[in-house]
């Protein structure tokens, strides 16, 4: 069985998947790609409908025996199934529901907001060739042209602040990790949030528990190892177009 992970800078979904693979001690070949240059759409990375139409936007691709897979939370679930390290999901069905519902919140509400703000702060230089998804291509064109909607920027800052509120409340009982034990929810939430204190400082004011949690996740050996693969000094400032902001508002 050959497993190859094509990943970008350790930020957002690439960080989730790299750290999950290290947590689970999964043996895989790592291939760095430049997501900001649109390399996922070129010839180096195997193509599949599930990658091209992934609504996560620009994220890592895990290729297992010729099957290219996208969407960081579900790739992390896969790695949790096959790896040998400690479980990244609770075994109890209700605790697992809590984790999956949390991750759904993170990918549906937090991720689009973080990607929009991150992209606004550091837009890509050019729209790559060969983007199959029409709506992803439009997000690229908007970002490169600097077309950012004030309403969406404000809404994104609100969503990041709501995420910080939610984390602070979740940690109020003194727990170290969001679900009690360390899980995919910690990875996915951290991966989208790591660059936000620099962009939405107010959202994190007066939230000591959230700051402590951010530092704990960052110090986790799997996360530290993923961050050590960074090509830049500040991977949390590197963004490519992510999930779209909910069209229903």
């Amino acid at each position: 069985m050959t497993t190859t992970l094509y990943h970008g800078e350790p930020n957002g979904p690439s960080l989730t998947v790299l750290a999950a693979a290290f947590e689970k001690q999964v043996d895989l070949a790592l291939e760095r790609i430049d997501l900001v240059a649109g390399e996922r759409h070129g010839a180096r990375v195997p193509h599949a409908m599930e990658v091209e139409q992934s609504i996560e936007g620009e994220g890592p691709v895990l290729v297992v025996d010729g099957t290219p897979m996208a969407d960081s939370v579900f790739i992390a679930c896969y790695l949790d199934d096959i790896g040998t390290g400690a479980a990244l999901r609770p075994a109890d069905p209700y605790a697992r529901w809590q984790m999956m519902a949390w991750c759904r919140y993170a990918i549906e509400r937090l991720a689009p907001a973080a990607a929009y703000l991150g992209l606004h702060a550091a837009p890509p230089a050019a729209v790559p060739e060969g983007i199959a998804s029409i709506d992803l291509a439009e997000r690229w064109r908007d970002a490169v042209a600097g077309r950012f909607d004030e309403g969406k920027l404000a809404d994104s800052r609100t969503k990041v602040a709501q995420a910080a509120d939610k984390i602070e409340a979740q940690l109020a009982d003194g727990r170290d990790w969001l679900m009690g034990d360390f899980t995919i929810a910690d990875l996915e939430t951290y991966a989208w949030l790591a660059g936000m204190p620099a962009l939405v400082a107010d959202a994190f004011k007066g939230k000591p528990l959230t700051h402590g949690w951010l530092a704990r996740v960052r110090a986790r050996p799997s996360v530290a190892r993923a961050l050590s693969l960074a090509a830049t000094a500040t991977p949390e400032t590197v963004w490519a177009p992510g999930p779209e902001i909910n069209r229903w508002g």
Partner: protein, 258 residues
């Protein structure tokens, strides 16, 4: 640890998000108390229900003293917490594909279907009511984004661009479903799974609502798949809980393949 008490499902029609945990419970053979909420009468924003789910979203499920929301996460819980046929494939790549499809339908394809559905069905049927009463009902909605969505649906204020984009997505999504179902018997793997339950709730009325895009000639695999799911006893039992003409659209699947 699994069985901690009675199961109650708070749901609307067997359709979209409500139908996903309903059909999962029927497939697993889990007995549950059905608590029907009339979405168009805003039952989901009334105090009785807000005491169960303060967000006022449908569906919600209680299992003993546990309260669960988020329909796709509820489906995974039902599959794991109760005995009965497994609805998540054992192969980890197949499980990934099941989850991929559920996200794609929940967050990309489904909202486009529902924008069209709300503009032709929900909006017009709610618009008959007294405007002041409607405004008061909207003000009681806990989630701000749901207030915006209801206002848009009721006023019919989706822009031409929004509707055109929704139609583009529906057409593309139908093509992707047809392609996937041409490769495998079921959507996510070679066995019936949560992805099929999710997809049926999204697409059971396709040959009626999108006859120019989905029919026996153009999408034979989608039609085979919908008819196979409709033939299951669990599906029949589930759709029998429908009270409106919307759920009755499922009978289009009684038609013979052309």
């Amino acid at each position: 640890m699994a069985d901690t008490g009675r199961v109650t499902l708070y749901h609307w029609e067997p359709n979209a998000n409500s139908g996903k945990p309903m059909l999962t419970l029927f497939e697993k053979g889990v007995a549950f108390d059905s608590h029907y909420l009339d979405l168009l009468a805003f039952d989901q924003h009334k105090p009785d229900y807000l005491a169960v789910n303060p967000l006022g979203t449908i569906p919600a499920m209680t299992h003993g003293d546990r309260v669960l929301t988020e329909s796709t996460a509820i489906m995974e819980y039902v599959d794991e917490a109760f005995p009965g046929p497994r609805l998540m494939p054992a192969n980890p790549v197949d499980a990934w594909r099941v989850r991929w499809w559920m996200k794609f339908m929940d967050q990309w394809l489904g909202p486009s279907f529902s924008m069209i559905g709300w503009s032709v069905f929900v909006g017009p049927s709610v618009r008959q009511r007294d405007p002041a009463e409607l405004e008061a009902a909207i003000e009681r909605i806990p989630l701000p984004e749901r207030r915006i969505a209801w206002r848009k649906a009721i006023s019919g204020s989706f822009s031409d661009e929004e509707m055109a984009e929704s139609r583009r997505r529906v057409a593309l999504g139908i093509g992707l479903l047809e392609e996937a179902l041409g490769r495998r018997e079921w959507l996510g793997s070679d066995s019936y799974s949560l992805a099929d339950i999710n997809g049926f709730n999204l697409g059971y009325a396709l040959p009626l609502s999108q006859p120019h895009l989905s029919n026996d000639a153009l999408t034979p695999n989608i039609m085979r798949w919908l008819r196979a799911i409709y033939a299951r006893p669990a599906t029949k039992a589930c759709w029998a809980l429908g009270r409106t003409d919307m759920a009755k659209r499922v009978t289009i699947l009684e038609s013979e393949p052309a």
